[in-house]
């Protein structure tokens, strides 16, 4: 074990290097670029034995990655925001192809107008593509989740691609100390990839020809079963990871001081780490409040939320927006806990478009619920300024 002190992107790139992907395709976009720059350097220096493709767009990145994975090799890429949106068609392709691609997305606000700051809408808008989705809130969690993600994606019960998201700058460009394990231990946890299908001239199959309605629903159903298996395997593999490496970041959800809580904040990514500070401060003021930090949103942690939500008020802090509907976490949580005894879900849209969400903001949002000044059926836009015109 060694200690690394560096920005989230470089830490993530180190994890990818240790997973030994064989083909990496990349296209630059801020604030992800450091990851693919670092990987390019590893490949050029001989520190990573892989094919590195500089492709001409993100759509092509995912096409090249899908094609490489279809030939039966381990693949990785990274993107952000507009890039992820441009990939959208190919994300469905990867999912329906059951290809265990791992990708990092650094959450960045979608334009126009151009913005570099974190907002989860880019990832959340891909929630129906068949990708398992992690949101991580520290460089160490990013490192560990990359290694776990390959193992999970390549598990025979899963066979689905994995997207790992973290916040622009607050994670991607912030220096944090990270424990780096030995390569032998990573190799033992993550054996070489054995594909469940591949294109091989000795066994000439056609992939992806016309699939009639007689068969299509079942293909989606088995993807769904893969997601259900992931619900079970994420905590299991997490515990196995803990036994080998000594760290566990939670299953689908990391629970923080929820044991005797009357109120539970729901948050993801860097809002999730900020919310821990808010919980500590509110606890000091005597409020019985905890945090459920959603590490995984696909598969959605319905069962965990039903357990956590029993006789409690949940406060969803969404840094994403489905315009015309609201925050995704709020809506999906309401749907998950429907009929759960004594559970109300309160919703805030906060930090949408990358505006900073501080622990003080989170404390104020929580207090508004505690004092009865918020209603569970009305989602509030936090810190909304005067609107109208330019």
């Amino acid at each position: 074990m060694t200690l690394m002190f560096d920005v989230g992107n470089k830490v993530a790139a180190k994890a990818v290097q240790m997973c030994k992907p064989e083909v990496i395709a990349a296209y630059p976009i801020t604030p992800q670029t450091v990851i693919v720059e670092e990987l390019a350097r590893f490949v050029e220096n001989g520190e990573l034995d892989a094919e590195y493709l500089c492709v001409e767009s993100e759509h092509s990145v995912m096409a090249a990655t899908c094609a490489a994975a279809s030939m039966g090799v381990r693949t990785f890429t990274a993107t952000s925001s507009q890039g992820l949106a441009f990939m959208h068609e190919m994300l469905h392709w990867a999912g329906l192809s059951r290809l265990p691609i791992v990708m990092i997305n650094v959450n960045r606000t979608l334009g126009p107008g151009w913005s570099l700051w974190p907002d989860e809408t880019d990832s959340m808008a891909q929630r129906d593509t068949g990708w398992i989705q992690f949101f991580v809130s520290s460089a160490q969690e990013a490192f560990d989740t990359v290694i776990l993600a390959f193992r999970l994606a390549e598990h025979h019960e899963v066979q689905l691609p994995v997207l790992i998201s973290y916040s622009a700058f607050t994670i991607s460009h912030t220096m944090m100390p990270v424990e780096i394990p030995e390569q032998d231990d990573v190799d033992a946890f993550l054996p070489p990839f054995k594909p469940y299908w591949r294109l091989d001239w000795r066994n000439p199959v056609t992939f992806g020809n016309v699939l009639s309605d007689e068969y299509h629903m079942e293909k989606r159903y088995t993807m769904h079963l893969g997601m259900e298996a992931a619900k079970r395997l994420i905590p299991d593999l997490g515990r196995e990871y803990e036994q080998r490496f000594g760290r566990y970041h939670g299953g689908l959800i990391e629970e923080y001081r929820t044991d005797d809580a009357d109120y539970v904040l729901l948050a993801m990514a860097s809002v999730g780490s900020e919310a821990k500070v808010a919980v500590d401060n509110l606890r000091e003021q005597g409020h019985r409040v905890g945090l459920a930090r959603l590490r995984v949103v696909r598969p959605y942690p319905d069962e965990d939320l039903r357990r956590i939500g029993r006789k409690r008020k949940l406060i969803a802090l969404d840094r994403n927006i489905s315009v015309g509907s609201g925050g995704w976490m709020y809506h999906e949580t309401r749907s998950a806990v429907m009929g759960v005894e004594g559970c109300d879900v309160y919703g805030y849209l906060c930090g949408v478009g990358g505006r900073d969400v501080t622990y003080e903001d989170i404390e104020q949002m929580a207090l508004k619920v505690f004092t009865g000044d918020a209603r569970p059926d009305v989602v509030e836009w936090w810190d909304l300024k005067q609107t109208g015109g330019n």
Partner: protein, 307 residues
């Protein structure tokens, strides 16, 4: 190369889903004869989806990676990289795209793969329309042609895609025709023998899309060459040589037939002849072909540095 010398082995199984007289299928069949079984096809959305027809069966005797419409070139780059990792550099990776997947939606990805130096063959089988979606206009559709998005005839000229590919400084660029099958076969084999990115474009008449009797499909391709609407040439490391009938035309040994002989047999140009002749349009098309051949002369003289 004579017809008798074409290999007997068939890598396409009979009973594919394409229309009768399909030149996509014909040229696939010949291409696979030329390449043999150590081949992976990448097929962006196109009529080839109809050839491949329905899960869980396929007529293809080589592996096929169906691909999104825009992504043929990029997928080839990924496949070649993976094959390299697997120690299988001797496998041919061939993108098999229609003119839509080449001239239009596939252009960026193809250009990228060429610039990246991907060791593959990009085949554009050009039937001058989006035929699988029901005969819509593409960037390869010639001026004046009726399509279901140009009901009065296309008002723009086609692009010159082989010239765009020459500008990528590829080691091999060639045009061929479904109607000159030995020439097509030779060019596929030649492309496979060269490392790096190769571009082949096959002119393939489409009976239902161009509206002519299907038994005349091969004749239609011949007429395209004989009238100069299509030219057969190859550029080996940038040095351009015209082939067969097109060479005779270029060298002045054969006259081009008037373009009308080609147009009047096709329903897609019927409005240029009936109820009355559109003299202006017909003369314009002939002038366009004449100008094309002036350019071809320069191309033959200067190679890829032309323009």
């Amino acid at each position: 190369m004579a017809i008798k010398d074409l290999p007997r082995e068939e890598l396409m199984h009979p009973g594919a889903g394409s229309c009768p007289a399909c030149t996509d299928l014909l040229t696939l069949r010949m291409t696979l004869k030329a390449l043999g079984p150590k081949t992976v096809l990448v097929t962006p959305a196109s009529c080839t989806a109809s050839v491949a027809c329905g899960y869980p069966k396929t007529p293809f005797g080589v592996p096929v990676l169906t691909m999104a419409f825009a992504a043929g070139g990029a997928a080839a780059s990924g496949a070649v990289a993976a094959l390299h990792r697997l120690g299988e550099d001797d496998v041919n990776v061939v993108v098999w795209a229609g003119d839509g997947g080449t001239y239009d939606i596939g252009l960026q990805s193809m250009s990228g793969a060429m610039e990246r130096g991907t060791n593959f063959i990009f085949v554009c089988y050009n039937n001058e329309i989006y035929s699988n979606t029901g005969v819509q206009r593409s960037g390869a559709t010639p001026f004046g042609a009726w399509t279901t998005t140009t009901w009065k005839g296309k008002v723009d000229q086609r692009k010159d895609m082989p010239a765009i590919m020459l500008a990528h400084r590829l080691p091999y660029v060639a045009t061929a025709s479904a109607s000159y099958i030995e020439d097509l076969y030779r060019k596929v084999q030649k492309a496979a023998s060269i490392r790096g990115p190769k571009y082949l474009e096959f002119h393939i008449p489409c009976a239902p899309g161009w509206r002519f009797p299907m038994e005349r499909t091969i004749e239609m391709g011949r007429l395209a060459v004989e009238t100069g609407a299509w030219a057969l040439f190859e550029a080996d490391d940038g040095k351009v040589e015209f082939n067969l009938r097109s060479k005779q035309i270029l060298d002045g040994k054969t006259q081009r037939k008037p373009i009308e002989e080609y147009l009047e047999l096709q329903g897609r140009f019927a409005h240029l002849f009936r109820p009355e002749r559109d003299e202006e349009a017909l003369a314009g098309i002939q002038q366009f072909i004449d100008r094309e051949w002036e350019r071809y002369k320069q191309l033959a003289a200067c190679g890829m540095s032309v323009g």
